[in-house]
């Protein structure tokens, strides 16, 4: 009986978790504070945490080497990183992917912004069921102000970034 109760609780917890992902909250019009994460860098040599980027506008991009749309996005994020250095930070979270393939992808697209590798726990909390790519825009206080479910289009992204850059908030 106890085991059965535990299973029911687990199922209920799964349902609640799916409705309380960062993506679900942001998609529902809320501005949740982005949960912090610390993940190993894709190329080794330590870890990177989201908290270390606080104070800047942050783009959190979940990608994978096998994702076709991610290939189109990578140059856009690289350009933003270069153009707004110090004001906008980009962090690429390689998830559901082989590290070796992720590294090859990063070299191919000459990505210089921080790249980390996730075995699924962060992706699960942020997105739940990913569509790849998934991108979040965080303001300087770490609140999620926009969520892109799928490929980011430059004009849509600049529409979100422009007021944040102007306001200084």
């Amino acid at each position: 009986m106890l085991l059965l109760a535990a299973l029911v609780l687990l199922f209920a917890e799964g349902l609640v978790r799916n409705k309380t992902t960062v993506a679900a909250l942001a998609g529902g019009g809320q501005r949740p504070v982005a949960p912090d994460f610390t993940l190993p860098n894709l190329f080794g040599h330590g870890t990177t945490s989201l908290a270390s980027l606080r104070g800047r506008i942050v783009l959190v991009n979940f990608w994978a080497s096998w994702c076709v749309d991610c290939r189109d996005e990578a140059p856009l994020f690289q350009q933003i990183e270069s153009q707004y250095r110090g004001r906008v930070a980009v962090i690429g979270v390689d998830a559901s992917d082989f590290v070796a393939d992720g590294r090859r992808f990063a070299r191919q697209y000459r990505i210089t912004y921080p790249l980390v590798h996730d075995t699924g726990s962060v992706l699960n909390r942020w997105v739940g069921q990913p569509s790849f790519p998934d991108t979040f825009v965080l303001d300087r206080q770490g609140r999620v102000v926009a969520y892109f479910d799928g490929a980011v289009v430059a004009s849509n992204l600049s529409g979100v970034l422009a007021p944040l850059l102007r306001s200084g908030a």
């Binding site: 535990a6 559901s96 075995t119």
Partner: protein, 158 residues
């Protein structure tokens, strides 16, 4: 004519060797086969079993399985590498440890509980039909009729 026969015989021999080579290739991995491994794994994105998934990441995992098979990796090593890259979500069956142990114990516990309940019900049912009082509504046997039947049966015996 002899040359033709020789060619046919050679063709048959090559075909038979090819047939033998197919299962040999499947067993070429270090104690595992690609089809059986695919049945033990899940696509980490679409959450379908790997042998039923056609997603890009499933294809990527499959191509790695081919590589690891030729490299002679053990099944444990393959699973360990995949868990390191994708997390335990890549395993079709949860590991029999920690909280995931519940997934292995609960079905057995439910079956055992079901068997106990069924056993109890059968016992209660058999007791209810084991010489207790007649259920209400059934007419009592008339003693005179009962004596007549006994007498008639005694007549048959005699």
């Amino acid at each position: 004519m002899t040359g033709l026969r020789a060619r046919v015989a050679l063709g048959v021999a090559v075909s038979m060797l090819a047939l033998l080579a197919v299962p040999a290739a499947a067993l070429a991995c270090n104690g595992w086969t690609e089809p059986s491994m695919e049945q033990q794994l899940m696509c980490p994105v679409c959450h379908e079993r790997l042998d039923q998934s056609y997603s890009p990441v499933a294809d990527q995992i499959r191509s790695n399985l081919v590589h690891w098979c030729t490299q002679g990796y053990s099944a444990d090593r393959v699973r360990s590498i995949l868990v390191g890259q994708f997390g335990e979500v890549v395993l079709a069956a949860p590991p029999a440890q920690g909280f995931d142990l519940l997934a292995w114990l609960v079905p057995g516990a439910v079956l055992a509980a079901g068997a106990l309940v069924a056993g109890g019900l059968v016992r209660a049912w058999s007791r209810g039909h084991g010489g207790g009082p007649d259920p209400p509504g059934r007419p009592a046997v008339d003693p005179a009729l009962d004596a007549r039947i006994d007498a008639d049966l005694a007549g048959f015996d005699g």
